[in-house]
């Protein structure tokens, strides 16, 4: 679907002033870590921009990502941005079903060939021909490869789409992989998180609509502005970490005082995300603020990195059985060495008797 109305015209029709668009642009430049001087340009570009077609395919997922993005905040200008993209295909949201939905998808792709954004949530099963997740009898793998071929860029939304996520957890029975494991010839933006922070998707879309290109990414293809630092770096409990004040249990005095949750397994130091700065539920709080450590859900293979409640300082120690075997091997080696030494040693000679 290609519409002729610009965002500026849409906002004007809905009663938003230019000033509110500029304020929004200032907030977004700040969010995207762009210089403040870029805000007027962003506002002007947004006002001139037209609807972008987005095709959203859901694969091996739980719909948590979509739920979160839909319930991100009250309907403000952010919502308008979502209005401003033309979400031409999303199975959970669209009224059409069956062949009508399939026809819509084909029409949207044909009308926006090479220009649409392909949004993916969920991992892609590859084992046994991808039979573990099918849409209209087609495997997720085949759909991804077909629709990525004509996309301008691919957005991998959520940890499952980015890295395989929970479906990829050991023993990965479906052979689940992330988008970047299959699509290698298109720009990809990973927006990991289980679920991802909604404002990050808003920011990526605003950047794309305003400047016609994707934001700067890190080595894992994540928007640098949102994933450039760790939760630990931005955490309001960080001073307690530096002071060595740690909660020892979830209901002790330290926990009540808001001390660092490192010892309770917080994965904040190795987790890159914007939870601590953007927060959740309209900026209400984030998990650590609610008293629970970060579980590192936006990092690859977070499900297979041991207990959520094991501190990063620890590790997977060897079991008692292996330790016992190692001790037995060591004792046997030592005994053999001692025995060898005894055998090699000359027998003690009798002392000569003193003769008067």
């Amino acid at each position: 679907m290609v519409e002729s109305e610009t965002l500026g015209e849409t906002l004007q029709r809905r009663g938003f002033s230019r000033r509110s668009l500029l304020k929004f642009a200032i907030a977004m430049t700040s969010s995207l870590a762009l210089p403040p001087s870029v805000a007027p340009l962003m506002a002007a570009n947004l006002a001139r921009a037209r609807r972008r077609s987005v095709i959203w395919l859901s694969f091996q997922e739980c719909t948590g990502c979509l739920e979160t993005l839909l319930r991100s905040s009250s309907p403000t200008i952010d919502a308008l941005i979502f209005d401003f993209i033309s979400l031409d295909y999303q199975e959970a949201l669209m009224a059409a079903a069956g062949t009508a939905a399939e026809r819509t998808l084909r029409e949207a792709v044909a009308a926006n060939k090479g220009e649409y954004l392909l949004a993916i949530d969920g991992s892609i099963p590859t084992k046994d021909g991808g039979v573990y997740s099918l849409t209209g009898g087609r495997s997720n793998h085949d759909m991804l490869m077909e629709f990525a071929a004509d996309a301008k860029a691919v957005l991998a939304i959520g940890t499952c789409a980015a890295y395989g996520g929970i479906p990829k957890a050991f023993p990965n029975p479906t052979g689940a992989v992330g988008v970047e494991d299959l699509v290698t010839d298109k720009p990809i933006v990973n927006i990991p998180g289980c679920p991802p922070v909604p404002e990050v998707l808003s920011g990526v879309l605003v950047h794309f609509i305003s400047f016609g290109k994707l934001p700067d990414l890190d080595d894992r293809k994540r928007p640098l502005a949102y994933f450039g630092t760790t939760i630990h770096d931005q955490c309001y409990r960080r001073p307690f970490y530096d002071q060595g004040k740690f909660a020892k249990s979830f209901d002790d005095e330290g926990a009540r005082q808001g001390w660092c949750l490192f010892e309770l397994g917080c994965k904040g130091p190795i987790t890159h995300n914007a939870c601590a700065s953007l927060k959740w539920n309209g900026g209400t709080s984030f998990p650590i603020e609610s008293g629970h450590g970060c579980i590192g859900c936006s990092e690859p293979d977070f499900w297979d990195k041991g207990s959520f409640y094991t501190s990063l300082a620890g590790g997977s120690a060897t079991g008692w059985r292996n330790a016992g075997l190692a001790a037995a091997v060591g004792i046997a080696s030592g005994a053999a060495a001692a025995l060898s030494s005894k055998l090699r040693a000359e027998p003690a000679k009798p002392r000569p008797e003193n003769k008067p």
């Binding site: 970490y241 010892e263 300082a313 004792i331 030592g334 005994a335 003690a348």
Partner: protein, 219 residues
Amino acid sequence: MTLLDFARGIGLQIAMLVLIVGLCWRFSAILLLRQRPQLALSRASLLGQIAGGAAMIFSRSVPRRSFRRRIGISILLSTIFHVGLFTIIFGGAPHILVIHQLIGLSWTNLPKGVVVIISGLTLAAMIAMLIRRIVHPVMRLLSTADDYLTWLFVFLPVVTGILLSGETIAGYETLLALHILSVEMMMIWLPFGKLMHGVLVIASRGTMGFNFARKGAAT
């Protein structure tokens, strides 16, 4: 598998197994070695021999007056290093956490800033000790590859620990992985080099003091 996953998983397990094999090998070999028969009469009672052993554990840490001028600096640096290392290991919160996870014991940790300052002093003492070892002709002559490797395997965890605490140069994840890997290298090296003195020092001094007392020598 990331570097940190390796360090916290299979790397740690391999290091622990090698450490256990090595320690058991050393202990059993020492205990089962051929003992010289004691033919002479003891100059001290059993209690006196035990007291002699206990005294030597401490007395060997204090230089004799006649040597103080010559080795005073070595003793000072060595004391700073050993006390510093002990404080880092048993005062740093993450280290206490590891000990707690392994054997269930826990105690109050020192503030991070204090541990970092002590780490800096320890590091400086280690570097000074290395320079002295290289510069001093007798020390250089007596030093073997074992000495330098042992220094390196202790130095690396201290350096990576300081870098980790400041989260400089690289991200926390990378530095944590490097720190754990350096500790694992030290664990693997411990039973096979001079680092083993950290485990045997009390027992060896005690045994020597026990034998000295038996022979009537000063402890």
